[in-house]
Amino acid sequence: MNDLKSLIACHECDLLHQRRPLPPDATARCVRCGAVLYRRKRNSLDRVLALTMTGLVLFIVANVYPFLTFRLEAQVQETNLVTGIVELYGQGMWIVAGVVLMTTIVMPLLELSGMLFILVPIKFRRRPWKLPLLFRSVLSFRPWGMMEVFMIGILVAAVKLVKMASIIPGTALYAFMVLIFILAASAAALDPHIIWKTLD
C-alpha cells in the first residue's frame, strides 16, 4: 500500500487524488466535483500571524470605543458594540442577545486568540499546547463569526434612522470595518495543511 499521506480524498465527493507539490498561490481542485482540495500559500504562517495580531488589536478598539452615536436635537445616545446585546437581554430577548453575542463577539475573539495560541509557539519552533483540539475548535468556530454580516446590518439600520436623526460613526466603527478585511485576508492566507503537518 502506498503512503497514505501522499493521498487525499475530496471532502465533498470522496474521490481519491495523489497529492502533488503546487506552485505558490495555486489551488488543487477535485477533478470530479471541482471542490478545493488544497492550496499553497506564500509565507502562510507568518502572514496569518501578522494579520491575527492586527485583528486582536482592532477587536479591542472596536469593543472599547464608542461605536455609533445617535443625535436627535438635544438627545445624544452613544453606543458600544455590546450596547444592543445588553439592551436585548434587558428586554427579555436573551436568546437573540445570545446569538448576537456569540456571532459578533465570542466566536471572532475565540478564533483570533486560538490562532495566536497556535501560531506563536510554531513561530518559535515549539509544539503548541493541545494543538489538535485547539485548531479543530478554531476551524469549527469560523462559520459562526459573522462580523461582515453585522456590517451590512449597520448600513441598513443607518439608512432606516437617517431621516429621523443624525448618526455619527465612532472610532470603533472604523476599527470594525478594517477588522472585517483583516479577518477575510487571514482566512485567505491560511493553509491548514501546514499546521496539521507540524503534528506528523
Partner: protein, 213 residues
Amino acid sequence: MKTSTPTARKASLISCHSCHLLSKAVSIAKNQAAYCPRCGARLHSRKPNSTARTWALIFAAFIFYIPANVLPITTVISFGKAQSDTIMSGVIYFVKSGSWPIALVIFVASVFVPLLKLFLLTFLLISVHRKSRWRPKDRTRLYRITEAVGRWSMVDIYVVTILVALVKLGSLATIEAGPGAIFFAGVVVITMFAAMSFDPRLIWDAQESHDER
C-alpha cells in the same frame, strides 16, 4: 473515468473531516468510535445520520419560519403609540420610502435566502433518497450555495440589535425587539446546522453504486 472511480470508501479508507488525513478503515464494534491518529477528531466515512439529522433540522426550520415572518420583529413606541413591524412590513417601508437597494437586501437576506436554503436542502435530500444520478456536479454546487449564503440571513437580527441600542429616547421614541426576532434567529441558526449536517458525498455514492453494476 467511468470504470471504477477510486474513492476513499472503496479503498477502505476514511478521510478525517478535520485534517484530511486518510486512515485505514478497520472494523470496529458497534458502539466504539475511531479517532484520527493525527488530530484526534472522530472518524466517519460519511457524516453520521446525515439525512435523518438534516430532515429533522429542515422541519424545525420550516416550522420556525412561519412565526418568524408573521410575528413582529420590532415595535416602535413613540409618544405612547406602539407600531409593530414584521420583516415584510419593513421591506415594504423601504420600498415606499424609495430605498430600493436596502429593501432588496432585506428581502433577499431575510425572506428569499432562508426559503431557498430550505427548498434546496429538501431537494438534495429527496434526490439522495431516490439514489438519483442526475447531474451530481450541479447538485454539489447547489449544496455549496446553501452552505455559503446562510450566514447572510442574520442581517435582520443585527439591524434589530442596532436599532434597539440607538433608539432609547424615553417617551419620545423607543424601539423594542419583538417575538418574531427569536424565531427568525432560530431559523438562521437551525438552517446553518442543517447545511452542516448534510453530507455532499451521499450525492456521489449513488453514482458509484450504479457504475459497479
